[in-house]
Amino acid sequence: MTAYLLRRLLSLSLSLVAASLVIFLVMEVVPGDPASFMMGLNADPQAVAALRSQLGLDEPLPLRYIGWVAGLLQGDFGISYTYRVPVSELIAERVVISLPLTLYALALSTLIAFPAGILAASRRNSAADLTVMGATQLGVAIPNFWFAMILVLIFAVNLRWFSAGGFPGWEAGFWPAIKALTLPAIALALPQASILARVMRSSLIDTLNEDFMRTARAKGLSRGQALWRHALRNALIPVLTIIGLQFSFLLAGGIIIENVFYLPGLGRLAFQAITQRDLIVVRSVVILLVFAVIVVTFLVDLAYAAADPRLRRRRS
């Protein structure tokens, strides 16, 4: 296990370095000089020169990369060019919205998908199965931002159960904040729940056909007992993979959904930064999200290796 862990850790650090290098280089190939790009066409040359030195653009490329990474390791993302405050402050203010939103959506997705997938698999080809499969087929075809707009139309505009957007802040209390995140989380969760329900169903169907399931039935367990005690645990491995992957989809999907609901999270920050050409903020949000994805993937890998020793050997 130790050797496996070390190997995975090495590959994790390589991925992080490679990802940071890619992001750094992409942001460096901004047509022309980043400083004049950020200042716009009619900028005063002196102001551009000042920004150049503020950004450290007069140093050679490798030095700039090392300086940037060294800063990142200390939580220093640089100073936002438009807000004139450390980017880490901007991010800290917004992560407390984006991360809970992602987790909320992940929880909803799992809560919807598990019962639906289990129901469909245990009553294969029944009306319930067909309904679940039809609904999931539709669920993956619906763009989440469109679904978000329809939710606003029904639950905010017509029924007035929720507000159409905005965020009261956690200081307004837990429930008002959760309420503001509910429609966005539902909109984010729908397509992911559809995918997850399908994976749950097919994984469970595969497991139900295994020999050990026949043994479980033969020793006198009812269908339901065998399903709960033996099939479900074994069917969960592929499902866990998908849940891990979904974290990254939800995190990225949040970028769009935050814009539908005017939630001041990382996504809104990124888009405002794009329109204001604040590349430092764009770069910081991107690297934060990519690092989150890489680390979650790593943790999911470790979770399996802990759960299933066969996987440790297979990969070596």
Binding site: R124, Q137, I142, W146, I150, I256
Partner: protein, 285 residues
């Protein structure tokens, strides 16, 4: 004209697969709308008519009019053209770059190049597709071409992985061994023996990726990073509809339905093709 028996039986099987037929018809409907839009639309999709703005569906304007009085049906027809073109080219890029990479990696299994290609794939996968697109458009500016590049880059590792995985199992098969004994190069074997045998798999995945690309294009256009005005696009029509949703819900409903029906059609067609190409894989969908 006589069809070869194999084709006829495939056609008969296809026609007996309701999900495939439905998917094919839905996808064909939107491809037809896109093609017809080059020759004819009920109205000029860019022509404004402020007096007739925000009208609901009527016999004259089938899907109503938008906040500038433009005909929504005409805009959806032209929007179909943009969505389908962007998705088609993006998936094409993914295939053209990804498949040779995957085939190469499989042919040189375990080599340094294989390792580099696969780790490169992992790296691209670590970037959520949307984030990649946002980064690219942040740097190069918004527009249909940059949307294509962004979605295309994300498709490369999908096809590279699929091609490599499928090719690896073929490399151990007798007919490939025979070709190697006959002295064919790895590149020729990949092109002549491996590629035709994984083509079905690639077509199925291509259909699924096509539908994902349409969703991605719509999302990019919705946040203003896709095709730019005056070119209508489904995503931007939805963005325009958002602030007017209580006043004119039809502005949000119809472009949304267009996306859903197209994506649903492509997905059903993809699932159907998978069943048809490989009856063994039928899993009671």
């Amino acid at each position: 004209m006589s069809t070869p028996p194999a084709d006829r039986s495939f056609l008969r099987m296809a026609l007996g697969h309701p999900a495939f037929v439905l998917g094919f018809l839905l996808s064909a409907l939107f491809i037809a709308l896109a093609l017809v839009s080059f020759l004819w639309t009920p109205f000029d999709p860019t022509k404004m008519d402020i007096a007739g703005k925000l009208k609901g569906p009527s016999l004259e304007h089938w899907f109503g009019t938008d906040h500038f009085g433009r005909d929504m049906f005409s805009m959806i027809m032209v929007g179909a053209r943009v969505s389908i073109a962007v998705a088609f080219v993006a998936v094409g890029i993914g295939m053209i770059v990804g498949v040779p990479l995957g085939l190469y990696a499989a042919a040189r299994r375990g080599s340094l190049i294989d390792e580099i290609i696969m780790r490169g794939n992992d790296l691209v996968f670590a970037f959520p597709s949307l984030l990649l697109a946002i980064m690219i458009t942040a740097v190069f500016g918004p527009g249909a071409v940059n949307a294509i590049i962004a979605i295309g880059i994300f498709n490369v590792p999908v096809f590279a992985r699929l091609a490599r995985g499928a090719a690896l199992s073929l490399w151990t098969r007798d007919f490939v061994l025979a070709a190697r004994v006959a002295g064919k190069s790895r590149a020729r074997i990949s092109a002549e023996h491996i590629l035709p045998n994984i083509a079905n798999l690639l077509i199925v995945q291509g259909t699924i990726q096509f539908s994902l690309a349409i969703l991605a294009e719509a999302a990019l256009a919705y946040v203003g990073l896709g095709a730019q005005p005056p070119l209508p696009s489904w995503g931007r029509m939805l963005a325009d509809a958002q602030t007017l949703i209580s006043l004119a819900p039809h502005m949000a409903l119809f472009p949304g339905f267009a996306i859903i029906v197209t994506v649903l059609g492509l997905n059903l067609m993809g699932d159907g093709l998978r069943d048809l190409f490989d009856p063994k894989l039928r899993r009671g969908r």
